[in-house]
Amino acid sequence: MIKILLFAGLKERVGKPFLTWEETPMTVAELKEELKKISGLENFSGIMVAVNETYARDEVIVNDGDTVALIPPVSGG
């Protein structure tokens, strides 16, 4: 099982602080496709993905127990 953390506008739009997904392993790209179906989010452009607190490209493999986070464009500082 993996946890997908949501923040800021994404968290508000989905209505929860995280989603879970059972099927692993899969690539970040594949996970994004699945998330589109379960989250109601259609557009992932501008959203980065982090796996275990590190930015990850589409080809990175997500394994059972990993923590994924969807990072919308940041605005700290």
């Binding site: 980065m48 982090a50 930015y55 986070a69 990072i71 940041v74 605005s75 700290g76 500082g77």
Partner: protein, 153 residues
């Protein structure tokens, strides 16, 4: 273990404490950047701000920024404290202190730190106005706050 020079806090920032963290016998200069909450943005009046962070990753990204600074300006010490939660106009949102052997590098490295915070650190700001609110998504004005390709695994 991430250094205690990198923090996310919910209470008001003590800037003097942040500066103390980079005091060093080999430092000849300390430069600070203090980000404060401003009221007007174009014609929009902010009533208050709310900051949210992916805390463990934000702290890691502060350390990544310090690594970048080390490779360009050796001998530098960096401390960053960012506040989250509800902030009022004039509150300090972020304090950065950078110490270097010689002063030129301290200005440059300090600037690098704040510019990179606005690109790669998972912290988000929501502006609350009289008649609405919105998460900000592009603090670099022209380029969305996204890390460059070389940062990706």
């Amino acid at each position: 273990m991430i250094s205690d020079r990198f923090n996310i806090v919910e209470e008001p920032i003590n800037v003097g404490e942040v500066i103390q963290k980079v005091v060093h016998p080999n430092a000849g200069a300390i430069t600070t950047f203090i980000g404060t909450v401003r009221e007007m943005t174009h014609e929009k009046r902010t009533v208050y701000l709310k900051y949210e962070a992916y805390i463990p990753m934000a702290v890691k990204q502060f350390a990544v920024i310090e690594e970048e600074i080390h490779s360009r300006w050796p001998g530098t010490l960096v401390a960053i404290t960012h506040r989250i939660g509800e902030l009022q106009i004039t509150d300090v949102a972020v304090a950065i202190a950078v110490s270097t052997p010689h002063r030129a590098a301290s200005f440059e490295a300090c600037r690098h730190a704040i510019e990179r915070i606005k690109e790669i650190v998972p912290i988000w700001k929501k502006e609350h106005w009289d008649n609405g609110e919105s998460w900000m998504g592009d603090q670099k004005e022209n380029v969305a706050g996204r890390p460059r390709k070389e940062m990706l695994e």
